[in-house]
């Protein structure tokens, strides 16, 4: 296992002011989570703001000391062996830069190579390969302050891979990045995971990041893992709905069916949400076919955002699927 954690907990002490008086309150950020991630996996850690995602990552990278529990990352205890672990992991925090603001990325790369004590010859090979794969040539000598956010994030991720880490932590790597740059970043992360075997643990509020990069999803809420499952299973098991879209050659009129909600209705097209526990897809499709000549029809899972929103909306403690739902 690349990462394993048992009963990992973190409590923050927060000072609250009440007029002149202040009193300390304990906030349970991470509540006794168990976690295991195998070599080469791409795992998404998702959850609403304040769920405990970043705190979990910071404990696994050794930045934070847990209040209770144990963890091993690449066989090391992160908060005890932080310096040794630093040579084996890479990390990108989307809201914080590791590049020098006034200097071009190339200078930051060179500095990082010194910080990680990299062999000069191998460092140059690795740097040149990253420059090519991440398409950094056009802005390699431009000061970071003059780069677009998308360019900067490409340079950030390349910088985190300079020392050939075995494990990559990505904390909201696409935050604030435009659609095109976001897709490029996702492709690069996926490529690195699949071709080079780097284990990836990514947190993001963007369902697209999760869909493109991760094979497995850990949903954290109220400091606990409320779901640990494959992405495909998560869709199937957490929303008993399908979205059926149809286009017709002529005009049509849909009659109401139990368990079918009309999302959009036009003269030549319709979009329906089907509750599969109330009505079978077959019945709905037959009903649509009876309406007229079909030009196109599609059956889709609901958007991932909906699945995630559904899981987030569940009250604390209703984590019946924790860790047990993962299928091989």
């Amino acid at each position: 296992m690349v990462i394993s954690a048992k009963k990992l907990s973190k409590t923050f002490v927060v000072n609250k002011r009440d007029g002149w008086r202040s009193h300390k309150t304990e906030v349970l950020a991470v509540d006794s989570i168990d976690l295991s991630i195998e070599q080469g996996a791409a795992v998404a850690l998702i959850g609403p703001n304040g769920a405990g995602k970043s705190t979990t990552i910071k404990m696994l990278t050794g930045i934070l000391h847990p209040t209770a529990g144990t963890a091993a990352v690449l066989g090391l205890v992160p908060w005890r062996d932080r310096t040794r672990l630093a040579y084996e992991i890479g990390a990108v925090f989307g809201q914080r830069s590791q590049l020098w603001y006034h200097l071009p990325p190339e200078d930051s790369f060179d500095l990082l190579s010194r910080i990680y004590n990299l062999d000069r010859k191998q460092y140059k090979q690795q740097r040149d390969m990253l420059i090519e794969r991440f398409g950094l040539v056009p802005f390699l000598n431009t000061p970071v302050r003059k780069l677009s956010l998308g360019q900067r994030m490409r340079a950030e991720i390349a910088a985190s891979l300079l020392h050939r880490p075995r494990l990559l932590f990505l904390d909201e790597p696409t935050i604030g990045v435009d659609v095109v740059a976001r897709q490029e970043l996702r492709d690069l992360i996926k490529e690195w995971n699949q071709q080079d075997g780097v284990t990836v643990l990514i947190t993001s509020h963007d369902a697209g990041d999760i869909e493109h990069v991760a094979q497995r999803v850990l949903v954290v809420n109220h400091g606990q893992i409320v779901l640990d499952d494959k992405l495909a299973n998560m869709r199937r098991q957490y929303l008993d709905t399908k979205v059926v879209s149809a286009r017709f050659h002529g005009e049509h009129k849909m009659t109401e069916l139990p368990g079918v909600k009309i999302l959009k209705m036009g003269n030549y097209a319709m979009k329906l949400e089907v509750a599969t526990d109330l009505i079978s897809i077959e019945t709905v499709v037959k009903a649509i076919l009876d309406l007229g000549t079909i030009a196109d029809i599609s059956i889709e899972d609901p958007p991932l955002e909906e699945v995630i929103a559904h899981i987030y909306s569940r009250p604390a403690g209703s984590n019946g699927h924790s860790s047990t739902m993962q299928e091989s």
Binding site: K58, F93, Y101, H102, L103, L111, R114, Y116, R120
Partner: protein, 275 residues
């Protein structure tokens, strides 16, 4: 994935800190306007104080004060101002790192945070010191019309200065670490900087104070940062130089120990919650 770490760690350990200092100095060139502004401020301050001392010497009708001629006094002031005005805002940087959570980025690097900051600080501070001494020397030559420093003085300064700015770093870093416990460290920084100016002997050499006060202030760490190196520049003395270096080393050891203890305590208090 195979690691590409060098196996020759002996030299690389040191090289990385040199690289950090160099990149810090280069990065600070981006603030060229600020560097020029500082030099202008230094020039104005020096001009005022040098004129004041000229008047004081003339009014008192003495050749020497605290064992220094007027020319030596002007060079002493140049050295103290150059040291004080080269100060890097390291405590503010550490304070911000703690409050914003930027400290987290540093902690996942295979370089201890205090040493990382020390290397950056040295790069920045040496750049400022060179600029300050260059401008200070020009102004002093114009006003004093005499070079009253010797090769021995420059040699003594070159030995005492690195220790002085190391000690200043430790003091400032300690103030910055206060952010783990305090809501605002600017008050402590204000007191520290004023102590450095007054008890460090920036405005007047400590020898001009009444003897008991002079003896006391000379053994304080503030004197090791400002007075000690500046006095050695204008009035080098082998015995006194050894005394200054021993005192500086002692304070560095004491402050290093305190910083190490406080830093380790602080690490357990990190609350870098949120992205």
């Amino acid at each position: 994935m195979q690691s590409i770490r060098s196996t020759h760690l002996g030299t690389h350990g040191f090289v990385k800190y040199i690289a950090l200092a160099m990149i810090s100095a280069r990065s600070n060139f981006a603030y060229f306007g600020e560097i020029c502004g500082r030099q202008l401020f230094l020039a104005v301050i020096l001009y005022i104080f040098l004129r004041l001392w000229k008047v004081t010497y003339a009014h008192c009708g003495v050749e020497q004060m605290a064992g220094l001629s007027l020319s030596q006094m002007l060079w002493y002031l140049t050295a103290t101002e150059a040291i004080i005005l080269s100060s890097s805002p390291i405590s503010t940087i550490v304070d911000e790192d703690v409050r914003t959570g930027a400290l987290a980025i540093q902690l996942i690097r295979p370089t201890p945070y205090p040493l990382y900051k020390f290397a950056l600080y040295m790069g920045e501070r040496y750049l400022r010191l060179i600029a300050n001494f260059a401008v200070g020397t020009i102004i002093c030559l114009v006003l004093a019309r005499e070079i009253s420093i010797t090769a021995q003085g420059i040699f003594a300064l070159s030995l005492a200065l690195p220790l002085a700015i190391t000690l200043d770093f430790l003091g400032n870093f300690l103030v910055g670490l206060g952010a783990f416990w305090l809501e605002n460290t600017s008050g402590i920084l204000f007191i520290y900087s004023k102590f450095l100016m007054v008890l460090g002997g920036m405005l007047i050499p400590l020898d001009l104070l009444p003897k008991p006060y002079a003896e006391l202030t000379k053994i304080l760490p503030f004197a090791s940062i400002v007075y000690g190196p500046a006095k050695q520049l204008v009035h080098p003395c082998g015995e006194e130089l050894v005394h200054v270096l021993v005192l500086q080393t002692t304070w560095i050891l004491v402050f290093s120990l305190i910083v190490w203890q406080v830093y380790n305590l602080a690490l357990k208090r990190i609350a870098a919650n949120g992205g």
